[in-house]
């Protein structure tokens, strides 16, 4: 015995089970570092500035806009961009720059709420699927596969039409849009969260909680959920980009605000027929949509890169 002990390399002795403070980062410090890394990224800054600009337009649109967005009394229709009307006038003689500024509102009052709804429902569903596994996971998984075979826009058209069948025409309230787009996001979020939960499920802390006799909802929400927040936050930013995409497209297709409400997608649908006469009535709302979607995706991309490290 004693002859062997000479060959055993000496192990560092940990006194009272404590690791020296310098070796362990406290969670709040890790969080601060992550945040700093995100804030320093130029793509994030550009994305955030553009997004904030449109949020300000949505909140204070009427006070920023130079004219009344639904006033038709300026000059004749289709006046090309000029000093007084930088983006020109549309077919009805309305000021396009004002309509683009105020038009951010209808997208931004639906998209964030829809993404939050979708991510909350999807996370809960993903936790249940990943934690229980077995036939629960299998059955829900098949349903999710089936729903994901239908593009979001087509699914939304089907459900929104069915919901407004008893009324004349198609009436879409912002609340209805939030519900439908949020529910349509749920399957894909659930799939992402499920695969994150699968990694955690067999780790020691989950086993320990089970042995302590904790109930399943407690383990899912208090033990596992904090450890899968990274992918959930990434999912939230990615969904927000898709929500703007979806809401703008649905508005273009007529499933959104109705005239004369200023809205980017609706504006393109209304003015497109005369694009060869007055390109400005189509291009400026189009650029507004593109700038907001790309800006949010720049944010999402940075968050994803930093959290995936």
């Amino acid at each position: 015995m004693s002859s062997l002990s000479g060959n055993v390399p000496e192990l560092p002795v940990i006194v009272e089970g404590r690791v020296p403070a310098a070796q362990l980062d406290s969670p709040s410090r890790v969080r601060r570092d992550t945040l700093r890394q995100i804030l320093r990224s130029p793509t994030f800054v550009i994305g955030a500035l553009v997004t904030l600009f449109w949020v300000a337009c949505a909140l204070f649109g009427e006070s920023i806009a130079p004219h009344d967005p639904i006033d038709e009394s300026f000059e004749a229709s289709y006046v090309s961009p000029s000093w007084d009307f930088p983006f020109g006038l549309d077919r009805n003689g309305r000021d396009i720059v004002s309509r683009v500024i105020v038009g951010s509102r209808s997208v931004l009052e639906v998209a964030p709420a829809a993404s939050i709804l979708g991510v909350v429902l999807g996370s809960l569903l993903g936790l249940v699927m990943g934690y229980f596994g077995g036939w629960v996971d299998n059955v829900i998984g098949r349903v999710i596969d089936a729903i994901l075979a239908i593009p979001l826009i087509v699914l939304a058209i089907l459900v929104l039409t069915a919901l407004s069948a008893s009324s004349e025409g198609i009436s879409i309230s912002p609340l209805k849009l939030i519900m439908v787009v949020g529910l349509a996001f749920t399957p894909i979020v659930a799939r992402t969260v499920r695969s994150a939960v699968l990694v955690e499920r067999d780790l020691d802390y989950v086993q320990a909680a089970k042995l302590r006799g904790e109930r399943a909802p407690y383990i899912m929400l208090a033990e596992i959920l904090p450890n899968v927040m990274g992918p959930i936050i990434v999912e939230l930013t990615v969904r927000l980009g898709y929500a703007v995409f979806a809401v703008a497209t649905l508005a273009f297709l007529g499933y959104g605000p109705q005239p004369p409400t200023p809205d980017w997608g609706l504006e393109i649908a209304e003015q497109y027929a005369d694009v060869s006469l007055a390109w400005w009535a189509v291009v400026f709302p189009a650029l507004a949509i593109a700038s907001l979607v790309v800006a949010i995706n720049l944010i999402a991309d940075t968050v994803q890169q930093v959290l995936d490290q």
Binding site: R142, V143, D145, A146, I147, A149, I150, P151, L152, I153, V154, L155, I157, L158, V159, T161, A162, L163, A165, S166, I170, G241, Y242, F245, A248, T249, F252, L253, G254, G265, I268, A269, Y272, V275, S276, L277, W279, V282, V283, A286, L287, I289, A290, V293, V294, N297, D301
Partner: protein, 318 residues
């Protein structure tokens, strides 16, 4: 291999069956009474009942679903509420038009995006790589109709005048005229796809470039061209095929908006039109067809990959 195919097909059929149930429920339960819907508020209760009986919608839901399904698998998707014509009369030509547009978009997109992805991978981390990645990422997230509207403004009658802004009524025209009028809608769809396919081609190429077999090939003295062609690209493009197949299905989301923008009477246009007039038999058939196209495309992609990849082909054998 046979067992793998059988498994894969069975799984797809289960999902498709579930999908058909959900579509049927959404289109038949949510809207309420079809007789009231078609005849309007002023119709008498007796007339509404009579109409419902003639459609057979007074029977219990599971019975109606089973009937509808057994007709649907034989190619009969029911008749319009409005004029009683079979929905397939309009659906089949529309599907052909949409598939033509989708294929056109893929033909434009695939060579460019694979080239760009492989090029970006070989210039990994440099300015060219960054430029391709950011461009692809941005294009992939912009709605198709926005890209379409901008493309029409630039290349359409407003400025350059190279292409028409309408793709609607030219289907009887000559093949070249057809391609000419479909170029802008196809390009808008292709630009959205570009980001996804190029990203996948880049990732696949990077993985293959870093793999041991590539190093072995280089070390045993093969030329750069041979290493790339025989060893890197062959392995790099397998995951790209899966992405192309999945996107074939997702393309139909964008096709609705693009067909609306250009007035092209495909499945997307028909979906929107039947939704507007609340013709639910047609609407549910359109949605189901879009789901079938998605399953068929992903199935074809999976089978192609397993046929090209000996590891899958051989290990799943028994």
């Amino acid at each position: 291999m046979l067992r793998y195919i059988a498994n894969r097909v069975a799984l797809g059929l289960v999902s498709l069956l579930l999908l058909s149930m959900m579509i049927y429920a959404a289109a038949q339960v949510l809207p309420g009474n079809p007789g009231r819907l078609v005849l309007g508020r002023e119709a008498t209760a007796g007339a509404v009942e009579e109409f419902n009986r003639s459609l057979g919608v007074d029977r219990p839901l599971p019975v109606r679903y089973a009937d509808w399904l057994s007709d649907a698998v034989r190619g009969d998707f029911g008749s319009n509420y409005t004029d009683g014509r079979p929905v397939t009369d309009d659906l089949i030509p529309a599907l052909q038009k949409s598939l033509f547009l989708a294929l056109f978009a893929f033909v434009i997109c695939i060579p460019f995006s694979i080239l760009a992805g492989v090029f970006a991978a070989m210039r990994r981390g440099r300015a060219e790589d960054r430029a391709i990645t950011v461009t692809g990422l941005s294009l992939a997230v912009i709605p198709e109709f926005v890209l379409g509207a901008v493309l029409v403004t630039v290349f359409g009658p407003a400025f350059l005048g190279w292409f028409p802004g309408i793709a609607g009524t030219l289907f009887e025209a000559s093949f070249l005229t057809k391609l000419d009028s479909l170029f802008l809608p196809a390009l808008a769809l292709a630009l959205v796809l570009f980001g996804y396919i190029a990203r996948m081609a880049r990732a696949g190429t990077i993985e293959a470039l870093d793999a041991d077999y590539t190093r072995t090939a280089t070390l045993k003295g093969l030329g750069r061209r041979q290493v790339l062609g025989r060893h890197v690209l062959r392995n790099a493009l397998l995951p790209t095929i899966a992405v192309i197949a999945t996107n074939m299905g997702y393309l139909f989301g964008g096709i609705v908006a693009i067909e609306r923008l250009f007035g092209y009477p495909g499945v997307g246009f028909l979906t929107l039109q039947s939704a507007t007039i609340k013709n639910f038999p047609m609407l549910q058939a359109c949605v189901l067809i879009i789901g079938i196209v998605y399953f068929a495309a992903t199935l074809a992609g999976d089978l192609l990959i397993s046929a090209l990849n000996p590891r899958i082909r051989l290990t799943r054998q028994g």
